[in-house]
Amino acid sequence: MAIQIVMDRTGDSRHLFNSHDAQELAKAEQRFYELTKVGFTAAIRTGPGQVCQIRSFDPNAEETVFFPRLVGG
């Protein structure tokens, strides 16, 4: 199972999906673009502690984290 983790005030919302199921994959892809369209940044882990920002949906990503747009404090 793959997972999309969306940061929010509860800590995060988690969306599990089976990347071998076309319907679930399509739903995950739709969620990816809905979030990035409104300013969320998507990132995946590429190794222990190594991260990479992604701008298009990666069907092979096991874990994707989304965080809201950054602003100056």
Partner: protein, 145 residues
């Protein structure tokens, strides 16, 4: 009558302070796991490198390398005014204040700051407010790692 007796304050036995601190750390790391703060800190720890995790646990901050300049930044426990550029000797340089919008728990804010500095440093520097760091900004309040 001494002030301690007047206010019912009992001095801690030898070793009591460290036991109290250890108990508090244990509560934070285990008892608070189901809270938003606890969940966010657990997610942060999973995404840190082993050395960052160790540093965070011991010192209350961890360091990242900027993706564009190769500069080192120290991310302290906190949700704002908690990031500082450091020089090669580890001395504090310019402070950067930036965070994701929304009232996110500390662990989420720190993870977003780590990802942003490690993947799009230039964009971070474009939005961040600068501040001059001092000891007050980066006091280690409690072990969160």
């Amino acid at each position: 009558m001494g002030l301690s007796a007047m206010f019912g304050i009992r001095p801690l036995p030898p070793g009591g302070r460290s036991r109290k601190r250890a108990t508090r750390a244990l509560f934070i790391s285990h008892g608070a796991e189901s809270t938003p703060e606890g969940r966010s800190l657990r997610l942060l720890r999973r995404w840190l490198s082993p050395s960052q995790r160790e540093q965070f646990g011991r010192r209350g901050y961890f360091e990242v390398i900027g993706s564009d300049s190769g500069k080192r930044y120290r991310i302290h426990a906190g949700a704002s005014v908690n990031v500082c550029e450091i020089d090669e000797r580890g001395c504090l340089q310019e402070g950067l204040c930036f965070m994701p919008i929304g009232a996110l728990p500390i662990g989420d804010v720190m993870l977003a700051q780590k990802i942003a500095l490690e993947t799009c440093e230039r964009e971070v520097r474009a939005v961040a407010r600068r501040f001059t760091p001092n000891g007050f900004h980066f006091r280690q309040a409690r072990p969160l790692g």
